[in-house]
């Protein structure tokens, strides 16, 4: 294995959504900067939007919504535990980001007057903007990366950040998943855009890579930020999404909602007022799924042929295009059949819920020189447009931060320790296969951490995760590809421990199903109206702490506060056609 030593002003880790934007905006801020974009896959087709996206879930467009109204809605949807400054900063910049993407050639739906065709899906305001031709989004981004002359390194698995004597981040380490070559990259600032921790729970299909998230997003960013000393926020607010059973991709009630589709129980009846994903919505979904009215379905069979064709065109060409193939295999036709739904495995993802690496409204983490954006950065319900926007913030602010900074000396001990850790599985002659260890680990995540959460179960889970930490010492990789999977198992294990400890810390229930604790079943605002952070303490132990919720910038009226607590329809409504 060769070692490559490189030097860039800024290294962006992850080339999915936030990463390309961060790289481009840093370069725009100062064209003289040398910027490297690294990806575990290939930037052309990496990340959560590898095959495009069918719409914006949180477009704040003048004339349709205001930043204040959006900030209020997300505050309520996230049970009040929000740093409004971060959500508000996103909301105020949302339209600028849309205009930028529009100029680059991303196509959004517009009405006959040329105005954006915004739809109402949320409980209170209108923020959903369809992108029926959103399959080209990665191509559009790639063209811009080339135009901005951003250096790109594909197939590099980044494993740890380097920190200098002051604790500031000054580089990254990783290896090539094809050659196993080692990379030490010195940098003045690092921007992590590594996506969700999507390989935490095991999908109910039992298929390891049949995850809701793109399985490349194993939680690398969460683990790297943690080991560099960064604080992570509200990890117990898990990501759990409604999806198509077995296929495990989104059913997209968002997309079908404005066209007349909806989430129904086995009687074909609507049971929730609003299909926007929140912990409360997932709670009602879970109740219905477990009840005599279960399972839950996506209902489209009452719609006109023309509408169904439109839905098929959008859903079978964007985001998860193999969906049409899955339905064909099961002989499911939207015209006659409801689509069986289920809930996803658990994960961390601030794009969908609120679990992420803590950042402020400048995309700065709690560690100097380290920025984070996208699904892994804790700005609640941020979705794709929030990833682009916070990528933008991270790029410009990192460029500004390094203007007055020089490179600092690399700590050779950190490098040799990491090299030894990473390569150990390749140097053994025999041992455990990464896939088997991952399977057992993730099965135990389901057994012990999946809500309803129970204290004693989570404590047993922690013991099991400790045992698996020992098993990691026996991992055996037969080639660089398996070495990548071995590195990911260690990341998943770190995330599993974080998920257990964060969940044990908050002794109340909040965010509907996301953090429902059977032995602390009610919300306790007196003690827990606060953020819960997690970090590595000075002794290297995982520790949790409370942080006060920052004073609201936009006040929430008493009446509005409960809006998301009343999502269930009292009298089920029948489809009218």
């Amino acid at each position: 294995m060769n070692t490559h030593e490189l030097e860039y002003d800024i290294v962006v880790v992850g080339g999915g959504t936030a990463g390309p934007m961060a790289a481009i905006k840093a370069k725009e801020h100062n064209p003289a900067l040398r910027i490297l974009l690294i990806d575990k896959a290939n930037v052309k087709r990496s990340g959560a939007i590898s095959m495009g996206m069918d719409g914006l879930n949180n477009a704040v467009i003048p004339g349709h919504a205001t930043p204040e109204q959006y900030t209020k809605e997300i505050t309520i949807a996230n049970d009040g535990i929000v740093n409004q400054a971060t959500v508000y900063a996103y909301a105020k910049h949302s339209f600028t980001t849309i205009e930028q993407l529009d100029r680059w050639g991303v196509k959004f739906e517009k009405d006959e007057t040329g105005d954006y065709a915004v739809k109402k899906v949320h409980h209170m305001g209108s923020y959903v903007l369809p992108m029926p031709e959103g399959h080209d989004i990665k191509k559009v981004l790639y063209r811009q990366l080339k135009r901005a002359r951003i250096s790109i390194s594909n197939r590099i698995v980044t494993t740890r950040l380097l920190t200098d004597s002051s604790g500031a981040v000054n580089g990254v380490m990783g290896f090539d998943c094809r050659t196993a070559d080692f990379y030490v990259i010195r940098a003045k600032a690092v921007i992590l855009c590594c996506g969700a921790a999507g390989r935490l729970g095991l999908p109910s299909s039992g298929y390891l890579m049949g995850t809701y998230e793109n399985p490349t997003n194993a939680g690398d960013g969460y683990a790297m930020a943690y080991h560099a000393g960064a604080e992570l926020a509200n990890l117990e607010c898990f990501q759990i999404n409604p999806l198509i059973k077995d296929y495990n991709g989104p059913a997209c009630a968002y997309v079908t909602g404005p066209l007349g589709g909806f989430t129904a129980n086995n009687k074909g009846e609507r049971f929730i007022e609003c299909d926007y994903w929140s912990g409360q919505m997932m709670w009602e979904f879970y109740q219905e799924l477990q009840s005599g009215n279960g399972p839950v379905f996506l209902k489209l069979d009452h719609l006109a042929e023309e509408t169904i064709q439109t839905i098929e065109t959008i859903l079978h060409t964007n985001e998860r295009p193999s969906r049409g193939r899955f339905h064909a295999g099961r002989k499911t036709d939207y015209r006659q059949d409801m689509v069986e739904m289920h809930i996803s495995e658990i994960g961390f993802c601030s794009g969908h819920s609120a679990s992420g690496v803590w950042v402020n409204e400048r995309a700065e983490t709690s560690v100097a020189g380290l920025y984070a954006a996208g699904d892994m950065a804790a700005v609640p319900h941020n979705y794709m447009l929030g990833a682009f926007t916070y990528g933008w913030f991270a790029g410009s602010n990192a460029a500004e931060y390094i203007a007055s900074r020089d490179f600092t000396a690399l700590d050779q001990e950190q490098i040799s320790r990491e090299r030894e850790r990473v390569y150990a599985p390749l140097q053994r002659d025999q041992g455990l296969s990464p896939a088997q260890v991952e399977y057992k680990l993730r099965r135990m995540v389901n057994d012990y951490l999946q809500p309803p959460k129970v204290t004693r179960k989570m404590e047993i889970g922690l013991q099991r995760f400790e045992e698996i930490a020992e098993d990691l010492k026996f991992l055996h990789a037969r080639n660089p590809h398996e070495l990548m999977r071995a590195a990911e198992v260690s990341v998943i294990r770190d995330c599993a421990e974080m998920a257990a400890r964060a969940s044990l810390f908050r002794t109340e229930s909040r965010w509907g199903l996301y953090h429902y604790r059977a032995d602390y079943p009610t919300r306790n605002d007196a003690e827990w109206f606060c953020h819960a952070h997690l970090k590595k303490d000075a002794d290297g132990r995982m520790t949790s702490l409370k942080r006060p919720v920052e004073p609201y910038l936009i006040a929430i009226d008493q009446g509005e506060r409960q809006a998301y607590q009343q999502l269930r329809i009292d009298q089920p409504l029948k489809a009218t056609a």
Binding site: A41, N42, R45, R178, R330, H481
Partner: protein, 81 residues
């Protein structure tokens, strides 16, 4: 007594199939190998055609969509289909 640890291979059917008549990997094409997010495809050094090397498919389809000759077919992995 000698208890020697050894592995047992697990069988599974590759969900991504390549039409060898259409695949132009022997002319230097590596598009499907490049775009797979999970890095599962490779070029067979003997046949000079693309093939699925690892059973970790997310059925996401860039390999099929981006193949210039339509040689790639993504099927649902058996455990899900």
């Amino acid at each position: 007594m000698s208890l020697i640890p050894h592995d047992i291979a697990q069988r599974s059917s590759a969900p991504v199939l390549i039409d060898a008549d259409k695949c132009i990997a022997h002319k230097g094409c590596t598009v499907c190998v490049e775009v797979c997010p999970m890095d599962l495809l490779a070029i067979d050094p003997v046949t000079q055609k693309a093939f699925m090397q690892f059973d970790e498919c997310w059925y996401c389809m860039p390999c099929e969509t981006d193949c210039p000759t339509g040689a790639v077919q993504v099927n649902m992995p058996y455990l899900l289909k």
